[in-house]
Assembly symmetry: C4
Homo-oligomer: 255 residues x 4
């Protein structure tokens, strides 16, 4: 296996679907949202992508069998005016720079093949602070900025300052070069922990944007649980460094 | 030499052989077992594999000549109801991620060419503790889990937690994608030292699994010798850090 | 996208143009000069270059839209006896060694296609000292050394001692192998800060060399501002380490 | 330039030449010997090799011009019963593992094209000690071991223990796979400094081995000068650490 290999599991025809990407990244925000969608919508896996750009690894599952690390695309046929969806998730992003470009190219080929009309890439934006999550946006066409603002998405000038790295950025950037509308939605998050609360915020915006409703209970429960952990951490922090602490929300040294 | 190069030394026909892989890894457990098998069975080298993914290196042999680092495949024609075997050993695994995928692909091509009916990959599973070795398993089909359990192989839920990295993992994962049954047998080992005792445990399970008997004396002697070294190390450890030591078996700081 | 992709925006015919390269590097000297030229000459973008050798990243612009990181070539049709110009700028240089070679090859292909008669590559030469900038030169033909000396360019024997790394070096070296005259102009700079003053020095030499006049006010203003920052830093330095400081111009520890 | 590029400067016919390799490495021993040979024999450059596996760099020469980093092959037509020679030198070895394999393959292609009858690769073997240099050998055929021993070359069992890394190793290893006799001659050296004394020792053995005589004065003078530097370093060492020094020859901490 010298090349990335796209394994088709099922032939399916979708109507101008929307592609939602949620690969692992900061706070696993995108991954949490995309996996939640797959579960709630009972989306069906139609494609697996194996690549020498992923770590050379298998994961051991609960029944003692293994599976090769991969990315996966799920399909959802919308009911009652809902749009059709393709949802891209996976164990890893590419381990190499070049791999990010190659895999994004493959994802865009698949998007074009299905006639995808818009891409939403989901991620976290690490701020180093434990605060209420906002949803920050970036798009590849200025009209989309206005549309997203009307849904409560925040646009800070030139932010994120470091740009957007990985597939979430490249799908928007390289997608634009192919004339595909794309929006990146980033939930602000501390960057230290898996963040279901930030994921919940992103999910709400995404659902409004694409016109789909899903239950959010599972994500809210995980968020509540994580809240308790964070409170505990902050208490410990206060106890340990009563004078030096730069602020109660600042946990920069836990990471 | 820009590409991996497979050098055929001998043309041989085998009957649905079993492929046993024992390349270098944690505690050199797999390598010890595979080399022991080759020696005891007097298996014959039939293939050498050279690759730009190996370190750019030659090894100096005892007679002053060198040999290019490589992987090797040995063949054994089973006698009296024994199965035929292919045994994969070598100096190194790939030095790059991509190389692991490419080489595993080449190994699987060879396996298919010989009509391999099952693959056993052998390795060590580092626990940080000097304890009696167990043999942990992982397979690419759930029926194989049951079969292995009946031979005393242990399956812990989702363990190894970090997955299985390198050729031992990929042969099982990518082998599964090609429809080849594969089992990974991992001897638990401290991870600090070459571990013939763990290799001995793996060898016993493997021989039962494939229906072959070999003498194990050489391995047992090396294991006994290593036991003495470990006892010595543990004594030194006790002498040095009488109060701080987290436990007598814990030699985490020797590495 | 597995390969570098050259996107032509406009078809234009130029007369034996001069290619000026100013990609990011030490003190961003070359980039400052090239971008200043583009602005003052109102040069027109004709080519964008996207490559998997660039970081896998998009940049977020002030209006909330993103753009894929890239290199760009601008064209300027000279008026009144001025030469035609191609100006190469960009967000990044290649992130890999091999990429530097590949991209330089592509730039030289474009240079040959336009019949480029000479290349000027611009950069900074870090000295660790805050002093008046000099312009150091290197060429791929000895006649060019004399020509540059007559314009005030300084040539120190075998300097820079470490050679010239990246596209600024390769365009001169590989350009020479294709028979294209090329000169590298390096403004000395501390190496710690973006250096518009050094850029101003390089710009003056470049304009004389290619026979073009541009206003330099914008660059001078930025240089004056940077002067103030450097003075401030030096004051702080003096205040902090009154005895140990190796010299007033030495700010090696700020970087 | 995506690929290694072999630039032929002169067409020449040689009679079963011997290939001598002296690329940069430990103590620059091989490089010193090969460059000395080129100078003394007035060998003529016939081939330049440029590669994206070398650092992306040009070197600045004393006259202000640059040259692209490269490897070079010189030819010498032997007089009076001397053998013809090809001498391989260069600024760098490959910066990547894969590049070492690719370049060695290209060198061997050239060797086969010229009908090379034997390869001598030259290098240093770092011992961490300042002692009289020995010449250690390794070959790709056991008959060559005997031949080399008769010339005073030393063979220690399984030494160097870490094998031989880089082109000096691969030419012997991969050369053997192509049926070309090859010998690696390594001068022992501290590993801390360029070592003309070790180079002198290797040169003497090489000249005997290939049946060529060259003046060695230049190398001896450099060796004498380096002796003085080493003595000075050892004196300083003694002065600084009168009690702790592990031995007078041991300068492990100077590096």
């Amino acid at each position: 296996m010298k090349k990335t290999f796209v394994r088709r599991l099922k032939d399916l025809s979708l109507e101008s679907p929307i592609l939602v990407e949620g690969l692992p990244g900061v706070g696993h925000v995108g991954k949490l949202v995309a996996e939640h969608l797959i579960e709630e919508l009972k989306a069906e896996k139609i494609i697996e992508i194996y690549s020498p750009h992923f770590p050379p690894q298998v994961l051991v599952q609960s029944d003692g069998t293994v599976r090769q690390v991969r990315n996966e695309i799920y399909a959802y046929k919308g009911a009652d005016g809902e749009p059709d969806l393709l949802i891209l998730v996976g164990d890893y992003q590419s381990a190499t720079n070049e791999g990010h470009y190659e895999l994004t190219g493959i994802f865009l080929d698949i998007a074009e093949e299905f006639g995808v009309r818009r891409i939403y890439t989901l991620g976290g934006y690490g701020t180093g602070q434990f605060v209420e999550p906002q949803v920050i946006g970036a798009t590849n066409r200025s009209e989309l900025v206005e549309e997203m603002k009307s849904l409560g998405v925040v646009f800070h000038e030139n932010e994120p300052g470091g740009g957007i790295i990985g597939v979430s950025g490249l799908l928007v950037g390289l997608g634009g070069l192919r004339g595909i509308d794309a929006v990146c939605l980033m939930g602000t998050t501390s960057g230290y922990l898996v963040d279901p609360k930030s994921a919940h915020a992103v999910l709400k915006v995404l659902c409004k944007a694409i016109g789909i409703e899903v239950r959010t209970q599972a994500l809210e429960e995980r968020a509540a649980e994580m809240e308790r952990i964070v409170s505990k951490l902050q208490e410990m922090e206060r106890a340990q460094v009563p004078y030096e602490s730069g602020g109660e929300e600042d946990l920069r040294y836990i990471g």
